[in-house]
Symmetry: D2
Subunit: 343 residues, 4 copies
């Protein structure tokens, strides 16, 4: 399968390139970047020399349609919404990593992203697809890949929400490494500011909130609001997501553990931790795993769930490859059999 | 005022030395360390050469009583409980930075610290003293200095609890730098493990829990339980404490802000942030400040409070000096007029 | 003494503010910043609230001359050269922290800085002043403060060069934290690039080279060239400078140690390490110290010298205060009695 | 090919496990660790669960000889010397990653390692093998894998030394991440000490010195001494090695560049950088590359060479796999086609 990547020089695009380099059944047929067209990738990223180096081509949809089987959009929100249209018109398969096709509702998008939405007739062509809950549909040719925070949150809450176990408010305290904010320059990503620091930003205003509640209510109508905090911690990669929920009724630890294991039976990339063990961030960084642990407090009837992912892999490029595998009928872990780097 | 420090080579002891070096009304008369007695401090810590260097003496209570006006115990829990007794017997003023004299209840201590408690007749001599809520008492000669997490939590919750505004469960998600765990060696503090990582430890089992609930219930009997998580983030110093509480009734942001400002009127070391602004960690590191910000979610009626401190200063040595100043009748900020380092 | 600071919101300016806050004989009378005039400092840097907060005023030389006794220019190279002229004309004392007044030669400046030089008649008013080698001169009203790398290098080499002990080439391998590059934004200072990385930049092309050789040849005409490498390491503050020189003749370790101690006799801010001990970076960060250690290799007759400083203090603001103290006749360590932070 | 690993739970052993997991022609048949025998690897390293997890077996040479084709010793110096003997006696192939079989001289080993050497009759069975300079010999069944610093240095100097271009002293200023010191606990690897710090240790006393000079003199008898400094920088992985040499005669940049390219023609894992470009550390971390750049200073006739590697891959486990591939006749990059992680 020939794959074109648009937005090749961003963090997401680079990670796609790295993962596809080892994919047994798909290969990168072309890299595209309007800002860097004509350059070799290694001129910008010397580390790719001799490994994943390739010419960066301009973004020309006709050329791409003619020369690849699928296109991966690793472009920022506000860009995908424009670039995807041609491919949809030409019925050329697309997986979009941005937030632009995650809603069926132009207004909702425009409220949270403060950008012009793609028209509804294109939105409805897309399927928002968490691969662990994938069901083949007519639309699966156009896939909207979940956001990084949304992935960690939804995989962490799914067993509880699908079984309707939570009473009221869901409190989410998510921490992300700096790569989550992309490579654009700002004082908040300046080393001197970010190093030795922790910052909480966009409290209850992060654009992944409607994406999360849309999916939660699809699972169980009650859960239409969340308390959502996002912080930056001084690491490059990884999301450490802590969630607090009050249970409708007291549960045993064994029972809760069973529910989680049941939900992710045969889901290779979700690793439910042994009882009472919580994952640390590093045990997933460099891999496509989402590791989930939980601790139940009998006194307060609060269940704390910790869900960790590599934001650039399971939270972006890895999940996109997983969706590509499902789309193409490849084994789900093609190109994703990664050992976390740990050290 | 002549001050002796016991436990001089630990992080807390070193910070006391640094702060007292600039104190206008108190001076270090002697440093004590059983493990390093006979050495100069600079043999262990070359950075002190020519500034705060001094001979390290053995821990001999008679000598100390004869040669200083007050003794600061920067010794670990389980050590203070033994060392303090002599000074209490001799009515020599003590400020203890460990957890050993924070409860009036031997059993409670032994349950949470898994160590032998000091006898009750000594416990009752001590006052647990948050300087912002200081009231001179008969016991103020023996002061138990609050723990680092407890300081961040209690200052962050005091306005709400004292005014009885919280409904039910208090959820606390606290993150600390590695110095919080002290200088003893373990895999979890090895650079290769801690760097680029985040770990949640002792969920609902941290020994600061009873200290927090003891004070909360002293303020308002209802608040006898908390949900408490403690994590390590890859910084050396600082606690970033995020708290989530459901309010009994809806409040305006202005109203909440007023309540906080009222509580800390004329309290120099607590800086309530402007409305809707949350502090970052670095804005207090290197200083004795506790900065507090909050964001109210009208939808969920959840108030999120963020409280940040330097764990070694406001969470330990700085607060101890603040308590010393109150004890001695010095201006509260003697030796504590510190500009956060920030860069 | 009333001090005005121009360029108050850069790293150097902020550090000046912090140091002068504790100065017993000088005080900040005004802060100036063209880009931020009209704002309070705490609007940009919340950590200054209640401590060093002040109104930021526009840069108006008449006002400044009327309202202060001396002006500190913490402005970038290319800006000082323009701003300083008025003050020189008005004979208002200036300490400039930029590279703009370090040479007596317009061409030399323009070659290395790629910027227009201040006119020679202004250059000659300035004295390049390493406080450890200060001699009061007619010009000492206008002081050019040494650069950060130059400080670490010159203090490390002075004993050898002044005594003419080095044969041939001097090899300097200097490493700096990210604050050395200032707060302007670039990919190289983006957290994701700088973290977990090390980069060598401007090999033999750094603008501190002519400043170093100018001083070396002033001490001993032979030393007119150096091999000079500058690297970024993932810390915020500090310069770790390793220098390798071949000695003219074999020397004993004792002898070399004596020469260093002799040179810095009664120089409080240079701490020669015990024989065979090398300083680490942290033992000076947060202080005005320059710590120097050396190891002699009898086999190769190479002496390795390690010199460490805090680039923002001894390499910039601290040294400027030291120069101000010398100018004003204050004790040399006024405002500079700082304990390295270490933890 | 069935591979046994001894010392499986150290950094080197873990990296071998990770690399062999993706090897097309070799597989791990067993992991061995005396200290952890009987446990699953994932009990110690949860990140391996479901990927590289395996039972840890005791170190029993008979069992290993019977159940694998080759044994990789990822044990510390002083342990390999003892464990390897049995395998040599039984003519079972060994690749040893420690320093124990790098010399043909017991005394030399004992001087630098301060440990008992393996007997000479075993030493002489081993070949010290830099894969880039591999020539099949009778002994190639017992391979001693080069040390991490030695690898970076020797690959960086080979073109110059083999062509006899250097005049006199070679100055090496090498910096390493903390994983270089292994997982054992010490104050120097405690996060609070290593973070925000840089330390120079073992100046001219590092045990890789004789390994380097042994190889240099094998290439050209003149180069029997080096000036060698090793530092720790606050990263987990990577060696950044800066070398300074005076050339015998002036050379053009083009000429020097040609010599390097010629030496490494068809050597996939050495990437000579474009002229005047220096590699940064991150461009090799996570890969088996050694990237080399250089800058020539016409004024001083000094050539500076920068050589960067991932100390755990090219400096240990990756190089061992490369040696295994050469031994077994597999393609040299089997299991080593790794894209540097970069972000």
């Amino acid at each position: 399968m020939d794959v074109s990547i648009i937005g090749s020089t961003g963090y997401g695009g680079m990670e796609l390139t790295k993962l596809l380099h080892k994919h047994p059944n798909a290969r990168i047929s072309s890299l595209h970047s309007d800002s860097a067209a004509g350059q070799m990738l290694s001129e910008i990223y010397p580390h790719t020399d001799g490994v994943t180096d390739m010419l960066l081509r301009p973004v020309e949809s006709d050329w791409i349609v003619a020369n690849s089987d699928i296109v991966l959009l690793a472009t920022p929100s506000g860009v995908s919404s424009r670039l995807a249209l041609d491919f949809v018109d030409k019925k050329h398969p697309v997986i979009d990593l941005s937030g632009d096709f995650r809603f069926m509702d132009e207004k909702l998008y425009e409220k949270w992203y403060q950008k012009k939405s793609a028209p509804y007739r294109y939105l409805k062509e897309f399927t928002y697809q968490i691969p662990e809950f994938f069901k083949k549909t007519a639309n699966s040719r156009f896939i909207s890949n979940p956001g990084c925070y949304a992935t960690a949150v939804l995989l962490g809450l799914a067993p509880l929400v699908q079984n309707n176990l939570i009473e009221e408010t869901i409190i989410i305290d998510a921490k992300s490494g700096l790569s989550g904010a992309g490579k654009s320059l700002s004082q908040s990503s300046h080393f001197v500011n970010a190093h030795d620091n922790m910052t909480l930003y966009k409290a209850n205003q992060h654009q992944h909130i409607p994406e999360i509640t849309q999916q939660l209510t699809a699972w169980s109508a009650t859960y239409d609001k969340i308390q959502f905090s996002t912080s930056l911690i001084p690491v490059s990669r990884g999301i450490f997501c802590t969630m607090y929920v009050q249970l409708r009724e007291k549960k045993s630890v064994d029972n809760l553990h069973d529910i989680y294991q049941q939900t992710y039976l045969n889901k290779k990339f979700v690793r439910i931790q042994p009882k009472e063990r919580l994952p640390d961030l590093k045990q997933v960084v460099g891999s496509n795993y989402c590791d989930i642990g939980m601790v139940y407090n009998e006194k307060t009837n609060v269940l704390m769930i910790v869900s960790v992912i590599d934001n650039l892999i399971k939270g972006a490029a890895g999940q996109a490859i997983q969706n590509l595998n499902l789309f193409a009928g490849f084994p789900e872990d093609d190109g994703l059999d990664l050992v976390p780097s740990y050290f």
